[in-house]
Amino acid sequence: MGSFPKFGAFVLRAQEKSGRTCINGLPVASPSKQMLGRFPYLQSLRHDNLCVYLHFSETVIARDLVIVVMEHHTTTLGNALKSGDLKDESTKNSYYIEISSALEYLHRNAVTHGFLDISSVFVTRNKKSTVKLSGYGLPFLTNHGKDIASSLKFDVFLAPERILNEDESLLAATYQSDVWEMGFVLLQIYLGITLVPDVSETEYLEILNKSFSSPSTAKEYSIMDDITQLLAEKKRLPYHKKCDWLEEVIRSCLRIQCSERPLIPEVASSIRENTTETPTVESKTDNNDEYKIKTVDEMRAKVRENIAKDSDGFEKLSLENSFHLWKTCGSTPEIILLKKGTIQNHAPISSYPSIRYDDFNQVDPGVDSQSTFDYGVFELPQQRTLERIEKEQKVSAKMFHKIGIINNPDHHLNGNILYETASEMLTMDHLLNATAVFGVSSVIPHLSKNGVISTQRADVWCTLLDINETKWRDYLNLDILAPHSSDRQLEVDIPRCHQYDSFMTTPAIQESLRKVLKGWQIITEADNYVYWQGCDSLATPFLLANMSKPHIAYACFKEFTHRYCHKFYLKDNSEVIKEYLGIFYHLVAYVDPVLYKHLKNNGFDAELFAIPWFLTCFAHELPLAKLVRLWDETMLHGNAFPLMIALAMLNRLRDKLLAVSFNEMIIIIHDQPDLSIEDIIRNARGYESLIPPSCTFRTHASPWKENCSGEVFRLPNTMTGLSLGDLSQLHCPRLSSEELLWRIERQMIYVIDTRQESEYQAEHFTISFNHPNNNEADIEWLRFIPGIVKSELPKCFIYGKNDKTVTEKLAETYVMKGVPYVCVLHEPFESVKNRSPFVIKS
């Protein structure tokens, strides 16, 4: 077991500031919200020698407490030094390299560590790295301490300028103070001991005092030798192999004048130059090994090898996925910390003073907040996760290879949700990686069966939308700060966009959303695209999936709207929208003529309710949790899928709508509580298979074609668009002649020929029926066509070149009589007959 990662949680008390308002009159975001908004950036920092931040939440029981969860390990560098097993020179060398390179990475990303000491460095047994820095970036997270009210415990060896700044804020950490504190860590590794308790805080301060007060102190004065001298005086200086270059490095880090200390890159490169051993670098590529395998046989061999070793499958899961599994076991960090007593909740009465005298004086103000907490990092228990995973079977590599490489009967996995989830995560990872070779379509059947796990959503969406560097390169070169005509609109829209989501209330995420939308506008301006209210709702899910990467959110937003909201955001979109709504109503007539008639009779036009549906692809109508599920599904389908969703949404309200008239109808349709998204998806899929694809033809449809649907979706299509007037005169969809012929060949259609009997006798399609000549709808006649009553196949009306209008009128009459699945051919019989081998001539 063992390699299921550990998670550590710590608590911060956010500063409470209430009652302040911004210039726009809205309340200022609370400090805890501001921290929440900054957190995704910390979370996005990835380096082999940094612990990963995983989770940030406001607590429910006390609104000022926040909980941060990060990767955790058992042994700190301090423990390792105390136990005295850190003797080996090459290990020490690799520690120097790893610590300095991790810090270099942080500084390159404009983040200071602020808490670097031997207890915030973990020693791991993982072969990928030997040390990992933890607890970094809190100055960034807390806005240099301004956003928190709780004090933080610091190591003894704080940089002198931070000690002097005590009143300002202890978090006044800088790049230079990080260098100082790293100097102490390096020194302790070098000496192989911990300085505490041999060097007490008083002695440390005395040394600093002395070097400050002495007039002879040179600018470059370093306290390193003072420390070693003190140890030597106390006879506590251990034997260590003298190393001149390292002493020089440490000495430079410990210069009293912060401006004299070197920058981290300088330290890191001099460490790299001077350490000859190449420590554990070979292991860094280890993770990619599997993707170097070239043949299936090699893959099988690799899997067999893993199974033979009985290696634990968890090392293959990413930390986010592991934490997701941990949460699946039914607990939250908050509940655990409460149960363990780390957070103590007090009764309100305990904050009352115990004695009050005169009028205002009181003794013992009691506890000043309703809840208190213990300082420090607490390891979250994982017993339950592991027990539940192991309940039925020992975890082994076998669990995680269900993808057909090994014929592994996985019935024993059924019912264990953790197995299923873990296995699903790994399978998905594999498949996503494989799309580079097998194409996006290879992943669709699996997704369509199993759905998307939230931790993998960003990757899945990027794969489905085919996002790569070319799609965001232009975004990165924009001047997002330059004034733009849409600035005011964004300014008023963004603060009220999806405000029930806590991330969306944070200034940082709102700023990112502004950048995404503004960038999109600047880029698409040339194509006459503009910001429409509602674009904000639509861009939000992409941003929440990629919080620290607005450029990816931008690329996803652009691609998604290109596919499913094509031309909707043109400055003048009325043609596009009206065509879309017209086709939508034709489809309603096709699948539910009774409802269609009711809508029409009540003047209940699609313009009145469906514009926000389509314009935002339901983002303005559904809460985010439901919306992302709907989009997971949408992205697996073609550009007409939003129409199918809309049909499903309408169908859900069908009975209610049929019972009432206009006013109630419009209220019912605007108010959709307890909507089951799974039902909507199931029905939308049903409509997609029911409706002939060419019936969804739109002139303004996206040129993008989905890459995996059936043959009928890929037929050529010679249809041309109708004028909006003609569109509204028509009361059923049109079928393309290509699809007609395809369906005739497969006998998947009822062809109803409205030409004169004599013309029909002369030549007609093999499986067609000649409609009685009076051009009046005759339900009785229709019912006698074999099998038609129960069939869900299209009934396509075809006509001679002079009978188009009459036939369309006839089709309308059938629709109004409640006959479903009615459509008309888009061109007369004469234009089609020569292209078909299925014409019988007398």
Binding site: G25, L26, P27, Q489, V492, D493, P495, R496, C497, H498, Q499, V530, W532, Q533, G534, D536, S537, K571, D572, S574, N602, G603, F604, D605, E607, L608, F609, I611, P612, L615, T616, H620, F662, N663, E664, I666, I667, H670, S728
Partner: protein, 209 residues
């Protein structure tokens, strides 16, 4: 719908004709159109009221001495881009509230444009009101009461400064409109529908049944 008509349930035994009137709200985005309607219809206020796409529809009933008035309220999107949809909603409307934000001079200019458009395009008998919303933040005011009031008088508009947040003058402005609406003998069918395609409709004198 009965459940929603909290604001003005019909009084028992009152004399009663029920009249339906179509009312439309127009104005720059984020001036508080949806908030006014939400306050009037449901008595609620959301600090972060989400933007309106297209339009929203709500109804509310108020009682006058001699009639019960049912408002069919179309709350339109404020963004300029949705302007082309507006005629669909104000055509055939018997009442309109043009809203501006007293802390935003531009929104007042926009309101004047709406008034002009309604005078040109809407029914000649339409009852128009001007609402200066966000009166609760009067310390940030940029549109003076006197200025707006003078403009309203010149154009024969009802005028009030309102606050959806504190509910100041919200019911009052709707009541003031209700009192100005023609409650005559029944004529024709009440229409809740909006007119999408036809050219401008003949204004119906009143809408009672």
């Amino acid at each position: 719908m009965a459940a929603r008509n909290a604001g003005g349930a019909a009084r028992p035994g009152g004399p009663n004709r029920t009249c339906q009137f179509k009312l439309v709200l127009l104005g720059e985005s984020a001036v508080g159109k949806s908030s006014l309607v939400l306050r009037f219809v449901k008595g609620q206020f959301h600090e972060y009221q989400e933007s309106t796409i297209g339009a929203a529809f709500l109804t509310q009933t108020v009682c006058l001495d001699d009639a019960t008035i049912k408002f069919e309220i179309w709350d339109t999107a404020g963004q300029e881009r949705y302007h082309s949809l507006a005629p669909m909603y104000y055509r055939g409307a018997q009442a309109a509230i043009v809203v501006y934000d007293i802390t935003n001079q531009e929104s007042f200019q926009k309101a004047k444009n709406w008034v002009k458009e309604l005078q040109r395009q809407a029914s000649p008998n339409i009852v128009m009101a001007l609402a200066g919303n966000k009166a609760d933040v009067a310390n940030k005011r940029t549109v003076e009461y006197e200025e707006a009031n003078a403009y309203a008088e010149d154009n024969a508009l009802l005028f009030m400064e309102t606050s959806a947040k504190t509910s100041m003058n919200v019911n009052d402005i709707f009541m003031a409109i209700a009192k100005k609406l023609p409650i005559g003998p029944a004529q024709g069918e009440p229409t809740g529908t909006v007119d999408m395609n036809q050219p401008q409709q003949q204004q119906k004198g009143s809408c009672c049944k």
